[in-house]
Symmetry: C2
């Protein structure tokens, strides 16, 4: 077995066992690792670089839409968490509690924040007095703790990183608009930067955020046909403003409770990028969020250190000056073939090979990670060609994922068809639903599928056919799937 085969064979093929492939790839590519405590993970530098790119690209959108960042405490006194009844019921089973500070038992337990509504509420109550103080448009980048029994790297861990927006508005309409505006922003962000197409719409009441009036979500499909919730935007109505007494004097000088929203995206997006785009040879990062966008591999033959390496370094420098994230792989101890396989596994979108003949010809070979196609470019053309090629790769990955999504939304009319699709094809099942929680529950128990989203484009339209579960006339066309 050659070194290269050994490298690739260390990872179970995706087609053979998706879950094993996912975990082995994450460990092998050094994106993350298990921490010694159950449920906890470490995000290694190569994985954290993806998060930094996500942060930068999402933070820019958050700020461009008028929001500002702040930082609220990690701990929430138990009495605050209890102020909104549905909220505490939803979150208390998964809270980590601090009971000792220094050498002292605390009089009141402190929750390590499972989300921050209950610590932000009291501050807003203090800061907001008048309609002139509104809207409040604050976002926070923070770590979150929700106790988990099982660990799924990036997807389900006791601690994760996220951003959480928390806004206050004068009217119900404004809060509604903000909720939808953010969902739009999430959709545009995920599709443009992560190259993952999503369905945007509302959640059912069963699936909504504990304490929200209505939850909206963007849902994607991973390449194994399971759904992944990519981000949520909640219209909180006045639930928390009443619980925390966040009131303002309105324009007619009446005291009113503010209308609120909250919304978040997490480090699970890194898991989504892996699962949506990866293949049997490893990761395939969309160029916009790839830690390394271009790897330059000098072909190590003869006196390559004197001839090829300087050319490779010069090419890399030129590309860096165009603002690209570029690596030169000048390691002595590995063959070019090994390096090719390794950078494919690591998902680097574009490989630039430069050998002795290329140096003489003043050219380089460009190899795309997504399609594995090659082309030759003159060295002076690299600063124009490489960024264009990276955009082609970004578009190509999105196109592939979009085709996969479109092909894997299936309409069914009966529960038998429903089960058949989930057993044999996976993907989204689109079916009429009567709107009752009983049917939603029964479908979940029998198929392990939940209503992921009621897309805006279907919402409110007349539905043809009876509820896929009970047969009474369907009111809503819902997208069901098994989900992460």
């Amino acid at each position: 077995m050659s070194d290269i085969e050994r490298l690739v064979k260390q990872i179970t093929p995706k087609s053979e066992d998706f879950s094993k492939w996912y975990v082995e790839l994450i460990l092998k590519a050094e994106l993350a690792d298990y921490a010694p405590m159950k449920g906890m993970m470490v995000i290694r530098p190569y994985g954290y670089a993806v998060w930094e790119n996500i942060q930068r690209l999402l933070d820019r959108r958050i700020k461009d839409s008028g929001h500002v960042n702040a930082y609220f405490p990690l701990f929430i006194p138990e009495s605050y968490l209890q102020k909104e009844a549905e909220h505490v019921a939803g979150f208390s089973p998964e809270v980590a509690w601090v009971t000792v500070g220094g050498k002292e038992e605390l009089e009141e337990r402190l929750a390590v924040r499972p989300t921050s509504e209950a610590i932000i509420g009291p501050m807003y109550s203090k800061w907001i007095k008048s309609w002139r103080d509104l809207p409040v448009l604050i976002n926070q980048w923070a770590n979150i703790v929700r106790w988990e029994k099982v660990t799924r790297l990036f997807l389900r861990t006791t601690e994760f990183l996220w951003q959480e927006g928390h806004t206050c508005h004068e009217t119900a309409e404004e809060a509604h608009e903000e909720t939808l505006k953010i969902l739009d922003m999430y959709k545009e962000f995920v599709e443009t930067e992560l190259a993952i197409p999503v369905l945007a719409g509302r959640k059912t009441l069963r699936e909504k955020f504990a304490g929200a009036q209505m939850t909206y979500a963007v849902e994607a499909m991973m390449s194994d046909g399971k759904a992944l919730q990519m981000g949520t935007s909640h219209n909180l109505g006045q639930h928390f403003s009443k619980a925390f007494n966040i009131r303002f004097e309105d324009r007619a000088q009446n005291l009113q409770y503010v209308w609120q929203t909250s919304w978040g995206m997490t480090t699970r997006l890194i898991g989504a990028v892996i699962m949506a785009h990866g293949d049997d040879s490893g990761l395939r990062f969309p160029p916009h969020v790839a830690p390394t966008q271009v790897v330059v591999v000098p072909i190590s033959v003869g006196n390559w250190r004197e001839t090829v390496l300087p050319a490779a370094r010069a090419a890399a420098e030129t590309l860096r000056k165009s603002g690209l994230r570029v690596e030169v792989d000048a390691r002595e101890e590995y063959t070019p073939g090994w390096k090719f396989a390794e950078h494919e596994m690591r998902g680097v979108p574009l490989r630039v090979e430069i050998g002795p003949r290329d140096v003489k010809a003043g050219q380089a070979v460009l190899v795309r990670r997504d399609l594995r196609t090659k082309e030759i470019a003159a060295l002076p053309d690299l600063p124009a060609r490489v960024p264009a090629l990276l955009e082609e790769i970004q578009a190509c990955l999105f196109g592939e994922a979009k085709r996969f999504l479109d092909e894997n939304v299936r309409d069914v009319r009966t529960l038998e068809q429903f089960k058949d699709v989930l057993e044999n094809k996976r993907g989204f099942v689109r079916a009429p639903w009567c709107g009752s929680e009983a049917c939603e529950e029964r479908i979940k128990n029998e198929t392990m599928a939940t209503i992921r989203v009621i897309p805006f484009e279907d919402d409110g339209k007349p539905v043809d056919g009876g509820c896929v579960c009970c047969g009474v006339p369907g009111r809503i066309l819902a997208h069901f799937a098994r989900a992460y």
Copy 2:
């Protein structure tokens, strides 16, 4: 009392009561607020924007020097914290403990990280096998919890934000070099970006980090004459690699323990910026980290909305295009005079006033926050003049702070002189010290001053005169001060 007087009078003058001034200014400028729990604070958007600027400017330096970011767990099992004896002794009095997860009592308590050596150690032990894996140069941006009885906004809070570097090296020399390289980087960063001059050198063993072999620090002087530790860089030697079994096969194929460093800077830097530069009228932000660098105030007379405001907006847009952080204050409900006072209080480095006559003359009035001097600039000259003026302000603030520091380092030979300086003048006291912990302790008890730093330029030089405390020949010239 006019509105403007009322605005300024809400803040106690700095000269009257420094501590009150500090707190009132932070609350009034909305940099931060007290959280409802003892010891905890909220960093409000205007304060968090300073932190974001610090992060961006420091992160760039951390990466340019070859380090990469990662993320390690918030929780550390108690048994890990106990592995390095001095470390646990130093930190356990201030740890917050998680004892309940979900509904279950935990078998082992989890510390909310007071620093991350004890959770990073086990991971490094797993990842590092050979000299080829070295050096490991990892940094983390994270929140930290150390239980505090008292709250001093930004300076001493139960939770704070920081960056912590954790590196591993093949040799003791390399670790030593890294420790000093980082200290240099910190000094350059603080002086260039925060405009605060520092003394760089080593700490005494009494003042070193719990578990370090040697701690180095950059120390600054606040404008009340008290010292503030701005950042520390620790040479950990093999203390933690032995505790966590972090070993590598060296170039001669022998198993060796790695040599480590760790280093950090925190949100207390925001407090330093306030205390080093602020004056009776409020904050004075150095332009490099100011949330808003330029505020454009249209003078609201006559039909200003049609004439002056468009000119103000155009000027702001031009400046934004040069990459500056610019605000236009177009509020109807406040007079220009009120706005001037408010933006002075908020520390905006430069105010651009545009009135009807300025519009006609095609000019603007530029008013510096630091010196309050005015100049007139033609509107087309703004993109060149404003950035240059901001650099002048940055340099001027540094110069002022440097003069203050230089004037407030005083040499003493006796404990009486020592006490006299601290009582009547504050600042740093430079004095010969015998090197004994007994004298260090006695001085602290009698004067409340500690050895802040033994600057490199003094270190190892022959010392003239006996120990300021016991009189035996002095070995070390130390800088003492009362400190935050």
